[in-house]
């Protein structure tokens, strides 16, 4: 018996033919989850499609991407891949050649989301101009969320920690599944009617299906039309829903929403105390300034007071008195000096000086100077003054000059 021996290439070729003749494998739609997704620089997209039972390599050539792939495919995406399954002879493996890739289930939701987002955005429902400011100091906070979720507990914890005096009113809503959107809309209407200051609409994290109610148009419209400011808080930081775009403010999480909605009581009290202290300080400063001004005026007034004027005049008077005295003293000194000069010159001309040259002067008994022979009689006693003494003389004869 002769054994037929085939080359690897022949076998692969054979299998490839079998595949290509198979009607089903030529055009097939496979459902699975994406893994090992790689966007090659050539433009081709290589990925593995898998489910619980198995995995299959797949490729989408760059030429098919334009018509067949409308989203950025990533790890974990649930997809429907349409294309052919062919054998790659070089490695003896088969793989899927994708002509189009769509998101499955949730994936379709994603497209719906994009479409609605685009529509509402074009209608202007996301415009900043429609956003109502979130009041800073509120008394009543409405909450539309599930009564059993983590979200309501988070909001309650944060809100009561910040300010236990704000009234929280919960509208227990269905946040996922059948009737969730209607339930959320009812909650918004009920709380608006009741009259709260701010409403938080939200829920904790979940898959896109879980969050879907917040992407429904009726919810978006209810939020848009609500006159009470609404903070949306859906899922985690990375989850964006239509509700987040249309709400007056988007909080990344329910806890964050509570922080945005409820003011911190202690901080406000502190603020008030600070403001009071500032006011006190200003007034004190004002008083100090006024006191200073007053003391300035007092000083000026003192200068102008009659008492001060009197003192001033008295002082001037004293000054003048002193000057006067000085002047007087000077004058006396000057006169004394003059006198000394005069008396010196007088002495130089004194008659006594003449006496020393042989002259004398006569006095009668009455100490009168005798200047002529008139009234001089014989036997009169005269005193003859000389420089070194006097002579008492008796007149013996009086001879008149011819």
């Amino acid at each position: 018996m002769t054994k037929n021996v085939y080359s690897v290439g022949q076998v692969n070729q054979y299998i490839k033919n079998m595949f290509s003749q198979d009607f089903m494998l030529r055009s097939i739609c496979v459902k699975g989850e994406v893994s090992n997704c790689k966007y090659h620089t050539s433009g081709h997209v290589y990925f593995t499609i898998k489910d619980e039972q198995g995995a299959m390599s797949a490729v989408m050539f760059s030429g098919n991407r334009r018509s067949g792939l409308s989203f950025q495919m990533k790890e974990g995406d649930k997809v429907l891949v349409t294309g052919s399954i062919e054998v790659y002879e070089k490695t003896g493996t088969y793989q899927m050649y994708a002509k189009s890739i769509e998101l499955d289930g949730a994936g379709n939701l994603y497209l719906k989301f994009e479409a609605l987002k685009k529509e509402l955005e074009e209608m202007g429902m996301f415009d900043a101009g429609y956003k109502q400011p979130i009041p800073k100091y509120i008394k009543r906070l409405g909450i539309v969320t599930a009564s059993t979720g983590a979200a309501v507990q988070d909001i309650r914890n944060i809100a009561t920690r910040r300010n236990p005096f704000v009234q929280l009113i919960l509208y227990p809503a269905l946040v996922q599944g059948e009737g969730a959107a209607e339930s959320i809309v009812n909650g918004i209407h009920a709380l608006e009617q009741l009259g709260v200051d701010t409403i938080i609409v939200g829920r904790g994290g979940g898959s896109i299906e879980d969050l879907w109610a917040f992407n429904e148009e009726i919810v978006a419209r209810a939020i848009f039309e609500c006159r009470t400011p609404i903070i949306s808080a859906v899922g985690h930081e990375t989850d964006w829903t239509i509700a987040d775009y249309v709400s007056d403010m988007r909080a990344p999480t329910p806890s964050a929403a509570a922080e945005l909605a409820v003011y911190e009581y202690s901080a406000v009290v502190e603020q008030l105390a600070l403001k009071k202290a500032r006011m006190d300080r200003i007034l004190q400063e004002k008083c100090r300034l006024e006191r200073e001004r007053l003391s300035h005026f007092q000083t000026r007034l003192f200068f102008l007071s009659p008492q001060n004027q009197l003192n001033e005049k008295r002082k001037r008077l004293m000054d003048m008195e002193e000057k006067l005295q000085d002047r007087m003293e000077w004058i006396i000194k000057d006169k004394r000096h003059q006198f000394l000069l005069l008396s010196n010159s007088l002495e130089a001309n004194s008659p006594m000086k003449k006496l020393s040259q042989g002259f004398a002067f006569l006095e009668d008994r009455n100490k009168k100077t005798v200047k002529s022979i008139e009234n001089v009689h014989i036997e009169d006693e005269l005193t003859v003054h000389l420089t070194d003494g006097k002579i008492l003389a008796k007149v013996s004869e009086v001879i008149k000059r011819e």
Partner: protein
């Protein structure tokens, strides 16, 4: 505007305004005192607005009643 309708936010604004006016140098001491008195009134009113009764969370029922959570 009636007294009760003034919100905390407006009170804060009023206080800020009063502070601004008080900080201007060219007002009289009398005016300062007037403003100070007004400011104290605003602060008192603001404190009163900070209602301090601790509140339980309420649940709004389908027929519009409020019940404790």
């Amino acid at each position: 505007m009636s007294e009760e309708k003034i919100t905390l936010e407006e009170r804060f604004l009023n206080i800020e305004n009063i502070l601004d006016q008080m900080e201007k140098g060219d007002i009289s001491l009398d005016q300062s005192f007037e403003l100070y008195k007004k400011g104290l009134g605003e602060i008192k009113a603001a404190n009163e607005l900070l209602d301090t009764v601790e509140k339980e969370m309420l649940v709004l029922t389908a027929n519009g009643d409020l019940e404790e959570f």
